[in-house]
Symmetry: C3
């Protein structure tokens, strides 16, 4: 079933984010911590990466939102993640799960399945990851996805239904699915985002920031995706390659305003498996 | 009591740094390691992050200066930090303590209090962190500080007196306090520095580089702050946002010379609690 | 003995890399993970940093190539490295060893000597590191090398012969030595590459990408060095300092084509210890 959010719903959330500057705890992989923190700062949130046992739970209970990204889940991070999720749930703090490269890698896959039962507000991944987490397919190769988001539509709906989470599937058209099966697409973005490490991972952190502003996890995921991918479009216009794109992307995230969202956001209804109109 | 360092004191130290290229061991948080190393390289120092037990002490005894930053103190890093501090003290290597987000997070707060007793040459933080470490206030939210440096003036003086360290408090006007209570302010800088992750953390590493050049920890902290914040001003002039600012900041750090310090450094006497003239 | 690879050998490998997009597992130090991943993405490879025990071996058996970089070898990474090397060797996956700062630091030095016996396809380091690994000299100070690559020529030949690996020594003219003693130099590059952290480390990852394309480890190391250093030259032309250089370097890596290699690659015969013609 298609859900008809509007650009102004998303623009209003961006305005709200700038006013509140939510504090986002990111327990994320070693490759993208720096980029993730800079993305959060640029968009107007306040980043903190508190990822050691004992402190992770302490911080999650005061954070506005939490990101759990499974990219490099060392022993201490695993403990910290479980602790942070428990504290976040106890405190009512929304959290986002990014099941990076789940499928054939056993440690993260087991952890991802365990965390899904704790009801993340949003689960974000590429098509391969979402399918693997839903029990369909064997996962992609590393962070790559060879699959179109729409190929993961049924998996995403199944996962959203069983977990109670909104599910976001990255791709040329991003697919967002609510826990009740509602669907919407975001058709903004640029391929250069796939040439910068953390291009997907940092979006998970931005979703955690937006999720702190509303009880509707699906609109939070949609607005985060919209703001993020519009900034990517703006940056791509000035870029000579992935290096200058990443720099310009941070500049754009800092400059993008509600008006840009109103003018540029390209929401697409999605209403049946396999069909985006 | 105000101390009257001059711009030429600071310019001379920059010249010295370029001539000696001090080797700075940075045991720092996962978010800012890359930026910190690039800042050190840009300013003319030589970075090394040796942060595992057994090696940390070996390296601290040959390093020119050491930074201990408590941003993400995992188990191995905690051991490495204690070891590095002992070796640094035994070898007479100056070291800097950055007590990131101390206050309510228990692991780092306990570690910070333990390390303060080992007499760091310089303690660097924002107002919330310095107040928390001095036992005043409960700390800020993560790396943010909602406090003006001058609000931490008494706490900084108390901490400097009890620890024997110079204390540096970041803010719009940076406040530097000597272990004997001497005070000075640096009024250079730009707000974009707070929009780049590691903007404060990397300054701690630069302080360790300058501390290797002189026995006067307060002038080292002052010169480091001056060079760093002047480079920020230069970079801000060309920046479109935090992404291009961070890039330009590294370029400026590499190009800034003693002449820029002589012309631009804005030192301010500070002589009574609450008063900067 | 000099080996006479041509620019077109190297250009053909770059074309091959773009066609195949090899999946490179990088178990590398905390300072350079982000830059390494971005370098791999820029040049056209697919990065993955799977560096925890149990998963590291699982991934190495499906990766196209593996980098083992000893810059910050924490306990879990040490286990993961040994596991990944065993799995890579079992699967016939080529792997590269970067013995960062070996010499006086005991943990990494012992590990490096152990890994050398597992026959890396390529060993990459600066002159100090290669000499230390070959048992000549005490190593440099951290990642710095004060030595010219040619001063490490005999050490590199000895190490190549004893390990069965190709040995790459970074410097103004990069020196490449085959396991049979064949030698070649690459005279491209720019000093700004030494002012960006990971400038050497990320080259190891690119070598792992090229090593996945051919059974000849020496031509892989040579082509990787050529592509990498030509991109550095291009980036240096537009750079104002190390910040803009790093950004432009990623842009150049993404844009460099076989034609650039044909036109610009400066291969130098090297045929006797101490003599590059």
């Amino acid at each position: 079933m298609a859900i008809r959010y509007t650009s102004s719903d998303c623009a209003a959330l961006l305005e709200e984010l700038r006013a509140r500057s939510p504090l986002v705890q990111s327990i994320t992989n070693a490759v993208v911590t720096n980029f993730t923190a800079n993305v959060l700062l640029a968009v107007g949130a306040s980043p903190a990466m508190v990822d050691i046992p004992e402190e992770a739970g302490q911080f999650a209970s005061v954070a506005s939102g939490v990101l759990i990204n499974l990219g490099t889940p060392g022993q201490e991070q695993q403990t910290a993640m479980v602790e942070a999720v428990q504290a976040a749930n106890a405190a009512g703090t929304p959290w986002v799960l990014d099941p990076v490269a789940v499928g054939s890698l056993t440690v993260r896959t087991e952890l991802a399945h365990q965390l899904v039962t704790q009801r993340p507000h949003i689960i974000r991944g590429n098509a391969s990851e979402i399918m693997a987490l839903a029990g369909v397919g064997a996962g992609g190769r590393g962070v790559d996805s060879t699959e179109d988001p729409l190929s993961a539509l049924e998996a995403a709906q199944h996962l959203a239904g069983s977990s109670g989470s909104a599910v976001a599937v990255s791709g040329a058209v991003d697919l967002l699915v609510g826990h009740g099966g509602q669907m919407i697409g975001v058709a903004n973005g640029h391929a250069l985002l796939t040439r910068v490490t953390g291009g997907g991972c940092a979006l998970g952190a931005v979703m955690a920031a937006f999720a702190s502003l509303t009880d509707d996890a699906l609109i939070a995921a949609t607005a985060a995706t919209g703001v993020y991918t519009i900034a990517a479009e703006q940056a791509a216009e000035q870029a000579y390659g992935p290096g200058s794109f990443a720099v310009g992307f941070l500049d754009s995230l800092a400059r993008i305003g509600p008006d840009d969202v109103l003018k540029t956001l390209d929401l697409r209804p999605v209403d049946a498996p396999g069909h985006a109109r």
